[in-house]
Amino acid sequence: MDLRLLVAVAVALLLLFLAGGALMKKPVIVEEPPSAAPEILSIQFPKEFAADGSEAHGTLTFQDPNGDIVDARFEVVEAVLFEPFHFDPEVQNQVKGEFSFYLFTVIPQEVTLRVILVDQAGHESQPVEFHFQATESTP
């Protein structure tokens, strides 16, 4: 009796061991969370404006799942003389919205800018470029 019990326990333990090992080998599928990076939906800006130092205004529409955009970076892709810049658009807690920006120049030129949004965690949006012509101002 004791021997049969011992054999039964041993078999049970073996089966448990085998089952546990199989379970441990089962691949664990980790689902990746949705991207937390901001996204630029659109940029509205005049195709051309006067190169007389006056400001031309534009609007950028965005969406951000975390609502924590902290920086809008404008990089110069092509220009004769144009300074890159960046600023905090102050759109905290907005998962979707828009903000305004302005550009100016006193040099007639064609300019291409690249815009990137950055959130608090450092995630960057895909860059979006836009192009405009600063035309000679009539004296």
Binding site: L81, F82, D88, P89, Q94, F99, F104, I107, P108
Partner: protein, 298 residues
């Protein structure tokens, strides 16, 4: 009772005096307007009225007196033709890499393209002796503008000068890329200063006291034309201060166009220079910014 009234009156007077003294520091500086392109553009007009102006391939500029009374161009359309100095606004040298030919811009607004008959350009450069420049080293030459019988100079280059608006942009680029000397007669020169990081200028403002700034901070220094006027120092952040300006050391260096070096004694700067520009910020001529959302605005 009378002594108490005296003490109270004295305290009130003291309070008024202290309040008035505190307001002294809050007074606006003499020249509060931030500097802008309007301070830079007239420099080029004055330079062109003083002398010829050479734009080099590296983007630097130098005022000069160019030898020669006429320039000859071999044009596919009109053949070989000579133009006198008085007819010419500017000469733009071709670029082999860009496959562009030489161009002469005339004061009539016409433009002729072809090949210049010029092996080298002889000129007396400001701050240097006679020099010979190769066309390959130059981007363009703007000839001295004489107002006799011509339209008055305009920063927008009216009339025959509109064709050379692109060169105007090169002039702007030069002051953002290089340090620039402006001489009392209006002539300009891009310069490479020795020991630039050790240079310093001290200004004694009657409002703010004495301050010392470096070329990294300074946009330009303007020396007064007369002893009864203050010097002016404009910073790259837009601030402007008036008062006597002294350099802490001599200015030594060389023209970007090469040649012999120069040395200006710190005590003689105001007689030898009208202004010193230290790489004017690009943002002065083009840039942008944001319009933060107003509270509750979405």
């Amino acid at each position: 009772m009378r002594s108490r009234m005296f003490v109270i009156s004295f305290m009130l007077l003291l309070l008024v005096a202290l309040t008035d003294a505190a307001s002294w520091g809050a007074q606006e500086p003499q020249d509060a307007a931030p500097f802008g392109p309007q301070d830079v553009f007239p420099l080029f007009g004055r330079a062109l009225q003083a002398a010829d102006l050479i734009i080099l391939k590296d983007g630097s500029i130098v005022s000069a007196t160019i030898e020669g009374s006429e320039f000859t161009l071999n044009s596919p359309k009109v053949g070989e033709k000579s133009f006198s100095r008085d007819q010419i606004t500017a000469i733009v040298f071709g670029d082999v890499s860009k496959k562009t030919s030489d161009q002469i811009f005339l004061r009539t607004g016409d433009q002729v393209s072809g090949t210049l008959k010029m092996e080298q350009l002889k000129a007396q450069l400001v701050l240097a002796e006679n020099a010979s420049l190769k066309p390959a080293d130059m981007k363009a030459v703007l000839l001295r503008f004489s107002a006799e019988g011509n339209q008055p100079m305009h920063p927008g280059f009216q009339g025959g000068f509109r064709a050379v608006l692109g060169l105007f942009t090169d002039l702007i680029l030069s002051v953002t890329k290089f340090d620039t000397f402006v001489f009392p007669d209006g002539r300009l020169a891009s310069v490479l200063l020795d020991n630039r990081d050790q240079l310093a200028f001290t200004i004694a403002s009657s409002f703010f006291g004495r301050f010392t700034f470096t070329p990294v901070q300074i946009a330009w220094v303007t020396f007064a034309r007369s002893a009864d006027q203050p010097d002016q120092l404009a910073l790259k952040n837009g601030d402007r201060v008036s008062g006597p300006v002294t350099a802490e050391s001599d200015l030594t260096g060389k023209l970007t166009s090469g040649g012999a070096g120069f040395s200006l004694k710190k005590d003689e700067l105001r007689t030898q220079l009208r202004q010193t520009l230290f790489q004017i910020p690009v943002r002065l001529f083009g840039g942008g910014g944001g319009r933060p959302q107003k509270p509750g605005e979405h």
